[in-house]
């Protein structure tokens, strides 16, 4: 559940991961969930197929490129396809957030700043929040294990490099989204 990469990596993982990403894009469009960042998922009022898939492509590309460059700096002798495959498959838990968007009909992102306590009155929203949090933790754990197995790094070197790479990929994806969309 948290480390499938001991069994699956490379092209196989990439193919399976792509299936999850396509489902995320389609379901996210209908459930109005925007994956606008390498670590972001927001409930919005309206989503289109083009914007949903563009955002997912930017997220995934920035994440994979930053992780690959970090891997090149701290490790040697690893394959790009392993980073590509495992990182794509690591996105799979976000499909749960895309599904969760279906149940989030009452409170949107735009209304929260006006009345912040409104969201705590909705049991559905709290449940969605807990599920989303779990999915995000699962996603990060999978990304951590994907990086660990693909680049063969251990200990504090792995933890520090992963945190930096994750923050940088989030920043890169936000900048690209801001410039392009």
């Amino acid at each position: 559940m948290f480390n499938p990469f001991t069994r699956i990596a490379g092209w196989q993982a990439f193919g399976l991961g792509l299936v999850f990403v396509v489902f995320m894009g389609v379901i996210g469009t209908y459930s109005n969930v925007s994956f606008n960042g390498a670590l972001d998922a927001h409930f919005v009022q309206h989503m289109t197929f083009i914007s949903s898939f563009t955002l997912l492509t930017i997220d995934l590309t920035s994440l994979i490129l930053v992780m690959w460059i970090t891997g090149l700096i701290i490790s040697k002798g690893f394959r790009f396809i392993d980073i590509l495959g495992t990182m794509t498959l690591a996105k799979a838990p976000l499909l749960i957030i895309a599904f969760a968007g279906y149940f989030n009909k009452t409170i949107f992102q735009n209304t929260i700043p006006a009345n912040p306590f409104e969201m705590f009155q909705s049991v559905t929203f709290i449940v969605i929040m807990i599920i989303s949090l779990f999915s995000m933790i699962w996603n990060i754990t999978l990304m951590y294990n994907a990086f660990k197995i693909s680049c063969d790094v251990k200990g504090s070197k792995l933890t520090i490099a992963f945190i930096i790479a994750l923050v940088v990929s989030e920043a890169v994806s936000q900048i690209v989204i801001y410039k392009l969309m």
């Binding site: 990469f5 001991t6 699956i8 990596a9 490379g10 394959r79 392993d82 197995i149 063969d152």
Partner: protein, 133 residues
């Protein structure tokens, strides 16, 4: 349950003609454990020890004997690098050679991903390098 205790239970079952199905399964299970135990002892007997059981330091070879003419060679020789590795690592190297050094074939044989097998090999390389130092 100790090894002797399990022997007693099996003997008891053999003398009693009427015993329950549960006891029957229990005796089969015990026989299986004894079988595993027997082979574990044999395996351990034939395994070349690499570390001292008392202080865990690396052992050296003191004596070599010819089974044919009983000639004995005494000295103080280093164990070969591969003998210092664990049984699992030795098995891995053996499988690696049999698979013509193909990590892809190793991965499909072990039902593991390519980077996992490559990481296992890297670990063995690091162990050998450490031993060489």
């Amino acid at each position: 349950m100790s090894f002797n205790e399990s022997h007693q239970v099996v003997r008891l079952n053999k003398t009693n003609t009427y015993y329950s199905t549960q006891t029957k399964y229990y005796s089969i299970l015990l026989s299986y454990i004894q079988y595993i135990h027997y082979f574990c002892i044999i395996k351990l007997k034939h395994m070349l020890p690499a570390n001292c059981p008392s202080c865990h330091s690396t052992l050296k070879v003191k004596c070599l004997k010819c089974e044919n003419c009983q000639t004995e060679v005494t000295g103080l020789y280093d164990l070969p690098a591969l003998a210092l590795l664990s049984t699992e690592d030795q098995q891995f190297i053996l499988r690696f050679v049999i698979n013509s050094g193909s990590l892809k074939e190793m991965a499909s044989e072990l039902k593991l991903s390519y980077p996992t097998v490559r990481n296992m090999l890297n670990e063995i390389i690091n162990k050998i390098k450490k031993d060489e130092e």
